[in-house]
């Protein structure tokens, strides 16, 4: 009896490994389809994506480089440009923000496309656009 059971365990492990491989292939490499020149421009101007924003610091929301209908969902939750946001929790997955008195969770992919400005910069010198 030992032979067959060991075999089934091996088969199960192989199946699991195959599925994991497929999952990885299908879902992980998801490059950000944002316009590179805009990202470069924003970085040069000193803005940073929300994912790089340190926890517990107030930041000022600058722009949202996401699909139109996602922009709407964010707006509805009060994430308009100029709003103060603060990263409350960053556990490696989605980020938890404090916005207009409520707590909003943002998927990491999304947080990478939300650009903010940290307040200690001298905003007068920033060229918008």
């Amino acid at each position: 009896m030992t032979g067959p059971v060991t075999l089934w365990i091996v088969v199960a492990i192989l199946a699991l490994a195959t599925v994991m491989f497929v999952v990885r292939r299908v879902s992980t490499p998801r490059p950000l389809p944002v316009m590179d020149e805009r990202v470069a421009g924003l970085t040069a101007a000193g803005f940073l994506p929300l994912v790089d924003c340190p926890r517990g610091r107030d930041a000022c929301l600058h722009c949202l480089l996401v699909d139109h209908c996602v922009v709407h969902r964010l707006l509805e939750l009060g994430l308009t440009p100029g709003t103060r946001v603060r990263v409350v929790q960053d556990a490696g997955g989605p980020m938890l923000l404090s916005v207009r008195g409520s707590r909003v969770a943002l998927g990491r992919d999304l947080a990478a496309r939300v650009w903010v400005e940290l307040p200690d910069r001298e905003s007068g010198k920033v060229s918008y656009g």
Partner: protein, 743 residues
């Protein structure tokens, strides 16, 4: 009340309840209606609709709870449903619920509601929490700026409810006057030019609030454009709106709808600045402190797993004594009473008795045994939802679930599915997005439910006596693996991931759930199950009874026929040929699988019946009526005791499979039969049979729940799809077993 109001009692006032999610809308709804509410779905949608009727101050009020939304644009199903209702059903008044602790965001929806120019009353809820946070709100000023009554309330303590009802009754009799939100010069000019056209057409002007319509058209609302295209004047209005949009886009240099949203927020921000005096800002709330632990990088997932484990244990362990009790009462005293009554009127031992006992009572039992399970589940879900933890669970699980194109919230229904698929399908209601709900609902049956376990236990003991637990574990794992595969397949075919692969969700502050809120939710949802799924289960059970009662050949008469000779037996026989490539092509296993469609619990008992090894049916013991009654009460008390005893067990982990009383002779009969049908590869056939039971079409109760929750189309997909998957997987397992292992 005044005679004037009493005189209008006959006409029911229709009121819509609108507001943000987590603003206390449901609590207010419960406070207004009590348990006199009806839960269903919006026509043609899978969005939950709650309605209720009540009388206060001599007015009868029919209230419709709109889904919680953050705006009235038409980007989500919930928003569309709310808006369609407000536009087309034209309630007499709106109660707009706002969370006083979060006024700015709540006002964003409210200013949009006000633009509809329906009589509106703002219920400023959670005033107690606001006071605790040191927020002072100038209610007269807010009311004056919005130009509608604003009533402070604490729905959890049922405070302010009477005032809200009074204000609504009053407001509905007054002409409405919208608050004037200034969108800035450029937009206002465009609005004015559109208003000129709108006012030319009565059909449009009478049906839609003109200013709201103009703003929506400038925002580029496709749904509104579609509504107008059929109306006279639409052909003039739509191109004009398009032209204005183009001009504005050029002038503003950004999307108009974003510009308008920004104007709204600016206006609201200024208003909030005038009416809200904040306490000490930027302090860390208790909620944040709890979240610090609950959503922690390392602790978050273990805590969530523990919570899920508790939900799972509550649905199974706490309900089990009640399931047994209902089962015992129905098959014991109730059946005996029916037999006695039938005997008295001369119908004992006839097919009528058999139909009533084996068809109707068994069917009723099949429905009722789910009631304790669902009550327990709804209890656990209500606690998780009302406390605010549910959203945290979604938060911590999001990353893992994203891998298979699901949302963090999908994890809970899948987990519940290990207990029972029926409550799991209903648990998909906690998902806010229709696509996620369907996807999760379709994957739920792959989680091996508790009812399938006895089959594994029996077969593993027969064919793999030394490795039974490994085999059973493997089956659970296989279910999960197949679910992942099916999830990926669906994601790339029928259910593509939404354009936005990302979580956007508000995490409400933690709150202590109220007994009333939980009680109402348990009762209302369980009742909805009884109303919707019960009939299908009952009908199927009775249908199966008829199939086993009707003789297919010359042998036997109606209701007095050996199973093998009944229509059921013949149908099982026909199935046997389909099952032959899987190694268990016998009419006995075919019959067991068919009856497993009614409930997986009966697979083993049908096997015992078809192999003719089941003992004689318990002869009715000659209990008196009072003895029976006593027995029901005693067993009821026993069930309470068992439930209490199960509570400490919730914490402990008890994986014992439970030593099922083995049916004598059944094991030998199955082994012999499988050896024959598989050509000597009994173990491979046994494994294939288990895999088939794991994967094939879920039971009728699940099918009924699916039809109720996901719609008929998806129900059929699941029905047929799972049958196909089960067949293929069992075939693969059997052939592989024969080929490699010589099992």
């Amino acid at each position: 009340m005044t005679p004037h109001l009493l005189s209008t009692e006959s006409n029911v006032l229709s009121v819509a309840l609108a507001g943000n999610p987590n603003a206390g809308k449901s609590t207010l709804f419960n406070a207004l209606t009590g348990a006199r509410q009806h839960v269903g779905n919006w026509p043609g949608k899978t969005v939950e609709q709650k309605t209720g009727e009540f009388a206060r101050h001599g007015r009868r009020i029919a209230i419709t709870d709109l889904p919680g939304t953050y705006s009235l644009s038409a980007y989500t199903m919930e928003e569309l449903v709310s808006r369609d209702y407000l536009l087309d059903s034209r309630p007499d008044a709106i109660i707009a619920v706002a969370d006083a602790t979060n006024l700015e965001r709540n006002l964003y929806l409210i200013v949009q509601l006000l633009e509809l120019e329906l009589p509106t009353v703002v219920a400023l809820n959670m005033m107690d929490v606001a006071a605790k946070q040191g927020l002072q709100i100038d209610i007269p000023e807010l009311s004056c700026s919005l130009n509608v009554p604003v009533i402070p309330s604490i729905a959890r303590q049922e405070r302010g409810i009477d005032e809200i009802v009074a204000a609504v009754s009053h407001a509905s009799t007054l002409p409405t006057s919208a608050c004037s939100l200034d969108y800035g010069e450029a937009i206002e000019r465009a609005i004015a030019s559109l208003l000129v056209i709108i006012n030319d057409y009565i059909a449009i002007r009478e049906y839609y609030a003109p200013r709201w319509l103009a703003v929506r058209l400038l925002e580029g609302d496709v749904d509104v454009a579609a509504r107008l295209s059929g109306l006279p004047g639409g052909s003039e209005l739509l191109p004009a709106a398009g032209k204005r949009r183009a001009e504005l886009a050029a002038a503003l240099g950004e999307d108009i709808d974003l510009f308008i949203a920004d104007r709204r927020y600016t206006w609201i921000h200024n208003l909030a600045g005038r009416v809200v005096r904040a306490g000490s800002a930027h302090t860390m709330s208790n909620s944040d402190r709890i979240d610090h632990v609950m959503t922690d990088r390392r602790l978050g997932i273990p805590i969530f797993m523990l919570a899920m484990w508790l939900v799972f244990k509550i649905t199974t362990d706490l309900s089990a004594p009640w399931v047994d009790w209902i089962d015992g009462v129905l098959s014991g005293p109730i059946s005996r009473w029916v037999m006695t009554v039938l005997g008295a009127i001369g119908l004992g031992e006839t097919w009528v008795a058999s139909l009533l006992i084996d068809g109707v009572i068994a069917g009723v039992g099949g429905v009722l045994v789910f009631v304790p399970v669902l009550m327990a589940l709804y209890f656990a879900l209500a606690v998780l939802e009302d406390s605010g933890y549910m959203a945290r669970g979604a938060f911590v699980m999001d990353r893992l679930m994203n891998r298979i194109g699901l949302h963090g919230r999908s994890f809970l229904p899948l987990m519940v599915g290990f207990g029972c698929s029926v409550p799991a399908i209903y648990a998909t209601r906690t998902l806010t997005n229709e696509r996620d709900r369907i996807m999760t609902g379709l994957l739920v049956p792959f989680m091996s439910c508790g009812a399938r376990l006895p089959v594994y236990v029996l077969f593993a003991a027969i064919f793999f006596p030394r490795y039974a637990s490994v085999v059973i574990m493997g089956l659970y794992l296989l279910g999960v693996i197949i679910a992942i595969g099916v999830g990926l397949l669906l994601q790339h075919s029928l259910l593509p991931a939404a354009a936005a692969p990302g979580l956007v969700m508000e995490l409400p502050p933690y709150r202590l759930p109220t007994a009333r809120g939980i009680g109402v939710q348990m009762w209302i949802r369980t009742r909805a199950f009884l109303q919707h799924a019960a009939s299908l289960i009952l009908v199927t059970t009775i249908a199966i009874w008829f199939l086993t009662a009707i003789p297919a050949g010359a042998h036997g008469t109606f209701a007095n026929v050996a199973m093998a000779d009944s229509v059921f037996g013949r149908a099982s026989n026909a199935m046997a040929s389909v099952l032959e490539p899987l190694g268990f092509g016998t009419w006995e296993s075919g019959g067991a699988l068919i009856s497993g469609l009614v409930a997986k619990e009966v697979v083993v008992s049908t096997l015992a019946q078809t192999y003719g090894t089941s003992g004689a049916i318990d002869e009715a013991t000659s209990n008196t009526f009072l003895q029976d009654l006593g027995e029901i009460v005693t067993s009821f008390l026993g069930a309470i005791l068992d439930t209490l005893k199960a509570i400490p067990g919730l914490i402990g982990i008890n994986l014992s499979v439970g030593d099922d009383e083995a049916v004598p002779g059944l094991a030998d009969a199955i082994r012999a039969s499988f050896t024959e049908s598989s050509g000597g590869h009994a173990a491979a056939a046994g494994l294939a049979f288990m895999v088939f039971v794991l994967l094939y079409t879920p039971c009728m109760a699940t099918i009924a729940a699916m039809r109720h929750e996901l719609g008929t189309r998806w129900m059929w997909l699941s029905f047929v799809g799972q049958l196909a998957i089960a067949w293929l997987a069992a075939f693969f397992v059997f052939r592989l077993g024969v080929w490699v292992g010589g099992l």
